[in-house]
Structure formats: C-alpha cells, structure tokens
Symmetry: C2
Subunit: 439 residues, 2 copies
C-alpha cells in the first residue's frame, strides 16, 4: 500500500490500556494503514513483571524487563507511556525525549504536574509529546480544542471529566440511593477504586482541567492553582431539590477567562436540565467549550475504559506517524500555542469568583426565620432567584429551606453565610453548591 516504513512503538506498561492498544492496533491494522499510508506496530514492551500471564497476545513483541533499555532501543520510534504515576514515568518520558524518541502518554497526572518541563525538553530535542488519552478517554477534546477551535478565542469550558463522580451523582437521583450506597455500588462495578479519594475528591478532574485550561487559554500548566472540591458532601436531598427546581448536580471542571485572569475550578455544580451536559449520565464524560466564533460546542463519549482510551492513544500515534518526521512548523504544538507564546494571565483566587448558588438551610420551624435570612442576603446585595420552603417532616424540629441566589462573588457569599449560620434558628452549616447557567 505504501513504501513508508511502519511506525514502531515501544510500549511501557502492560495494563488494561496497553492491552487495549495492542488489540486495536492489530484488529484494525488494515484500516489504519489505509488511512495513514503506513502501518503502526508495537515492536517492544516492558512491564514490572514481564513473565506474568496476560489476557492479550504478545507474540511478535520483544519484551524488556528494564523499561529504560526499551526506551533506548534503536528500533523504537515512539515510546507509549502507560505506566502511570509521576516518578518512574517521568524519568522514562524524559529519557525518551532526550534520545530523540516521540512520546505518547495517557498519564494526566504526569502532564498536569510535569508537563511544562516535559514540553521544554521536547522543544529542545524536536520531539512530539501527545496526550489525547490523558483527558476524557475516547473523546477527542484535546484535538478539538487545539486544532478545530484554533481560530477562536475560548471564553470558558465546562466538563464532566470524571466518570466515577458522574456515575455516583447520576445514581443518586434514584430513590433510596444515598452517596455511601452508590459509592459501594460503583466500587462493586469497578467504576470506583477501593480508595476512591482520587476520583471523588476531585483530584483526577483537576489534573484534566489543568490540561484543558492550558490548551484552551494558552497558559502554563498550573495544577496547584486549581480550586478543588469533591462530591462527598452532596446528599440525595440536594439532588432531589435541584431536580425539582429544574437543575441537575454535576461534578464539573470549569475554566473561564474573566477580566482579571483565568478561573480554574472543580466542584459540584447545579446546571439547568435543558443543558445537554445535564443529560450526560452514568460513567460517560462530556466537555462543553464556549468560544467567540463557534459558540458552544460539546464533545461526548466514554471517559475511560481500555478501548476508548486506546482509541485516543492510537489517534496520537497516527498524528506522530504523519508529522513526527516533519518540520516543527508542520506540527501542532503540545499546549496549542507556540513555545514562547504562552500567556501570563493570572489565575483568579476563588474568593473573587462570581457564581450563582444553591443554598440549603435547616431552620427551626418558627415564624420570622425566612425574613431574617433574606434580610442578611439583602444587606449583602445578594439577590434571590427562588425560595423553596418545605413542610416540616412529622416530628422534625427543623425544616429545610432551599434558596437560589443570583451570581455573587464567593467572598461576599461566604460572609453572608457566616452571618446566617450565626442565627440561633439556623441549625447545621448551610449546604452551598455553585450554579452555572452555561449560557
């Protein structure tokens, strides 16, 4: 079909995604080389224990016990890093780049935490680092942001980028499904780890948001500046009240360019049910980008899993097969913007972020409480969009009051909440969930 030599891949890590990538490259070898004009072959692999029996066929692949030895093999054109973590993986990626090998990785933590350094080395050694699989699995949101929206100024992005959180929040809309019950179900199904903190506390989403924001706004990777909130404090009651008011609670990664810089935040968010994002259910992911020319575009698909992630990995390998040997001007820069063209826009402190809020208060069932609460909000110039006052449940001393307020700066909201929580009739801390119209 073509006289071009195959692209030879050295695979680091023989876990689920590694197996998926080998399977996809083999099963679809014919269609891939019809598209690319050359074949893509895994010629070498390494893993912690290369003698361990595996569910996938490794015939024709040279196995290395030492990953560094694999990286340095002359027959390896591109190193596919699927080890995970940020120590060994980082050393091997840098070793590959220093030795003129291109790198494809699915490692979001590595890119979010060490991407700036990695891309500098790649720039110096004229190599490609590709990482579509690091964000939202099989959804080509990095390609869309870096290439398809290249003519746009991106104004904001909002993504459901952690399948575990979305599975849990979706399931919590069913009667009787409290957070702990659903988490256990997610663990049984393999959608949550035994230690689920990384997902449900928002760290994983923050890694992905860091990457998305960098390529959207042309700022350096700044994981340490992301405001991160997980979903442990969301209760079924909130999911239900939200639905009654026309909203769903989604765990979103959001980045927005505002007058004083870039907002970077990961937190549960009420969004209108009429928004497509509100209808992304279960473990599925989706990212919405709002940009000045294209308006709102949305990208939806499986955010994890062996083959969806392999799909993204192979798409990166295809790009390397096409432009890895070309001049740098023929390639898309890793962070979408040319080296030296990144912006120094500051990251906005969370205190200064303006959003609407959903508030849930538990108050003594006495006259005058609502008047006190609304007086405090009014004194802080916080304007109320809706109030939902529930009947007290039989025998309960307190009643829930749900208040939706129009956008207000976080700092002002927190001050008003401190005053409200000091009222003698207000029991328990106020539940506060941010709201976004995504309009």
């Amino acid at each position: 079909m073509s006289s071009l030599p195959p692209l030879r891949v050295g695979l680091l890590g023989l876990g689920t995604v590694g197996g998926g990538t080998i399977a996809v490259l083999r099963r679809n070898a014919e269609v891939i080389s019809r598209r690319v004009g050359r074949s893509i072959e895994v010629v070498a692999a390494s893993a912690r224990d290369i003698s361990k029996p595996r569910a996938f066929d490794l015939s024709g692949i040279e196995l290395y016990a030492d990953p560094a030895e694999l990286v340095l093999q002359p027959q390896v054109d591109v190193v596919l890093e699927l080890i995970g973590g940020t120590t060994v993986a980082k050393d091997l990626v840098l070793l590959a780049l220093e030795n003129g090998k291109h790198v494809v990785t699915a490692n979001k933590a590595l890119i979010a935490l060490h991407g700036n350094e990695i891309f500098e080395v790649a720039q110096r050694t004229d190599t490609v680092v590709a990482f579509e699989a690091a964000v939202a699995g099989g959804i080509p949101v990095i390609k869309a942001t870096r290439e398809a929206l290249a003519g746009n100024r991106i104004e904001w992005l909002a993504g459901i980028i952690n399948g575990t959180c979305n599975f849990i929040l979706t399931a919590m809309s069913e009667p009787g499904c409290e957070f702990e019950t659903v988490l256990a179900e997610a663990q049984a199904l393999g959608y949550a780890e035994a230690d689920p903190a990384f997902d449900i506390d928002g760290i994983d989403a923050a890694h992905k948001l860091t990457i998305l924001a960098a390529i959207a706004f042309g700022v350096p990777l700044q994981f340490e500046r992301v405001y991160v909130e997980g979903i442990r404090h969301i209760s079924r009651a909130d999911v239900e009240y939200a639905e009654r008011l026309g909203y769903r609670i989604k765990h979103l990664g959001m980045a927005r360019q505002v007058a004083d810089g870039i907002q970077l935040r990961v937190h549960p968010t009420l969004i209108p049910v009429s928004q497509l994002l509100a209808n992304v259910d279960g473990v599925m992911n989706a990212v919405m980008l709002h940009s000045d020319a294209a308006g709102s575009t949305l990208y939806y698909g499986a955010g994890a899993g062996a083959e969806p992630t392999a799909s993204a990995v192979v798409s990166d390998l295809v790009d390397v097969a096409r432009t890895g040997d070309a001049d740098r001007v023929n390639r898309v820069p890793p962070l979408a913007f040319q080296t030296g063209s990144l912006s120094e826009l500051p990251i906005v402190s969370m205190d200064a972020v303006e959003t609407a809020y959903y508030l849930r208060l538990h108050v003594l069932d006495q006259p005058g409480v609502v008047a006190d609460v609304t007086r405090i909000l009014g004194a802080s110039d916080i304007s109320i969009e809706a109030i939902l006052q529930q009947e007290s449940e039989h025998g309960a001393a307190t009643v829930p009051i749900i208040i939706l307020v129009h956008p207000v700066v976080e700092h002002a909201m927190n001050q008003a909440l401190a005053e409200i929580e000091a009222l003698p009739q207000v029991h328990e801390p106020v539940i506060k969930i941010r709201m976004e119209s995504l309009a």
Copy 2:
C-alpha cells in the same frame, strides 16, 4: 513571533460566511498566530458585485471583479471558495488546484457531487482541499472522523445535520404548532429559505451525509445513492404520540456498515428521549459516531451561521498553514483514506434496510380491526413492541392506532402495510416513521 511568511488567502464570495471569516481572522489575528506560528491574511477577494456596499471592512483586501483572475494571482496561497453552487464554484476550484493553490471550501453540494473528481485533481497537483465547514458548521466532525477516530472501524453514524428541520421538529412539540405554522415561523426567523425544499426535503442533509459516510467508511462520494426523505409528512400528532411513548422525532442522516454494504439514508426517525441526540433542540446540530474502539462519541454545536461556519473555515486554513507546504505523507487525506485505498463496498438498497417502525393507522371504530392488523403483521413475522389505541374523538368515525414494531426489512414492512391499507376498516394511508435505538 515567527519568521514564517503569512498564509495568504484569496476569498471567492463576499456573503455572510465570507464576512464572518474576515471578521474572525482579524479579531483573533493575535491568538491565531500565537497558535500557528504564522499569520493568516485575506489578501484578495472577489464577488459578483464588488462595488456593493458591505457591512464588513474590506480595507487591505484587493478586490477582483473576475474570480478567475483572483485565483491566478501569485500572492494567493490558498483559495477560499464561498460562492456556493456547483457550476462556477467547481470551475474555480479546479482552476485553483490545477495552478497549485490549496482550496478551502464550505460548499457541501460541490464536495458531495464533484468531490471525487476534485480530489483526483488535488492528488495530481499535490494540493490540499479542506471542507470542514461543509458539514455541520462549527462542529469539527470531519476532523473528529478523519483524525481522532483514525484507529477505529466506524460502525454507524447518525446526525442531526439540518438546522431547519431540527428547528421545525423541535417547535412542533409545542401545542398548536403544526408543520405549516412552524415552517412560516422558521422563514420569518431566517432559519428557512423562502423556498424551503432544499432543507425540508432532505437534500441538504443528504449532501452532508454523503461526505460523512465517505470519510467514515472509506467509500467514494455517492450522493445519488442516498435514500432521502424529508419532514413534510410529519404531523404534530406523530410528535406527540412519539413523546408519549418515550421517543422524539428527529430528521437524521444515517450511515451504517452492515454485512452486505453501506446504508445511506436521510429520514425522520424516532429515537429514545434518553439519547443525547434526542435532546438536541432548535437549530443546533449534532453527530453521533459509533466505532469499535471508542464506542459512541457525539459532537454538538451550531450547524450554520456566519461565525460558527467561519470557525470551521479558519480551522481548515490553520491546517493548510501547517501542512500545505509539507509532504503529502504529512497531511491528512481529504476522504480520510489514502488515494487508491477507498473501498468498493456497495450501497445497500433501501428495500433491504432493516429498522424498527412507528406506524399510525386511522381505522373505523369497530371491533376486530386491531385483530386484523396484528394478524397481517404476525403473518409477515413482524413483531409488535407496543400498541397505543386512542379513544375516538367526539363525533369522529375513525380512531388512531399507534403501533411500534421491532426491526424488520423495509420490503417486508411495505408488503404488510399494503395488505393493511387494503382492509376496508383502514382509512387513509398508514403513516410510517422509522425508529432507531442508537444503542
């Protein structure tokens, strides 16, 4: 920022999209050149009447009365064809390619009808033809299909790819909004042409489907083989019954690879409300692709409009700026597959297509009618999923019966319907709308 010369664009056609493209390239010049490493500038333009006053600034752009003269200017690197139609536009595109100029176009009819010939010339003259804006406006579905899913075998795709049809079908869910009323509203809002046939009879969607199917399955462009049905025969009653049964009616372009070839079809379709596609409302577009590795991915956005279309045009110009001067191996082939690697899979005749159906019958309100109808379906091995029998309206001699049937080959369905329509108690032809689970 860069020592690379600007990419110089010659613009044919100064309509809405031309104006939008000039505006986007100017407004976002800084961010575009930070991304691409070179600037993209419209240096020349032509239009039927170059002296006509326009709402956008043409300063710095050399105007040509004769578009062929513009095409041949040595300072033009890439010709942007925004004239529309398939006669003059075709001649100018071929002239550009023959003279070594790259071409970017938003012209779906041109690509769908003459793409095979155009790509042959581009192959011979080593030029790029890019056409992201030809399908679904600002949604990068061509880039996603050609590049992001390059490791996948695509199994099927289904798209809401005509905003006029989607606006009308969405609006028809409101009480009192019959087809004709809503069409008039769409015309008043500028969402439908004075002569709306091109959109509402499905021709426009068929052009786009032709292109999508070619790049998804690696088959030549075959517009003449697309089965096309519009939305004129859809009534509010059907929209309402569908909703009651858990479905929405969307005008879909669908392509599917089956054992005996490729299905290419454009028609109204009932899809489950739980599907994201069912929740794509108004003039918005979305395309869902199902492929073996990535699973289902969906791409959503504005399918038309000056700036969304300009976003796609500029993304193509960016790709030309990056790889127009590179070797062919560094570029993505126009139809996703390398020249000479297209498949000869046949297009399946509509008679042989298997789908589920929604049927609406008007029958005399007499005992035994349902038994007769179900007997005929049963004799044809057509199995029933649901029956909805309505009370007769006051004074009406006939009652509507809605029947959903499980997938059956179109030919068998039509034979059974002929028998049913021959029953004396069945009045009016049976309304038949295809159904897809998209699972």
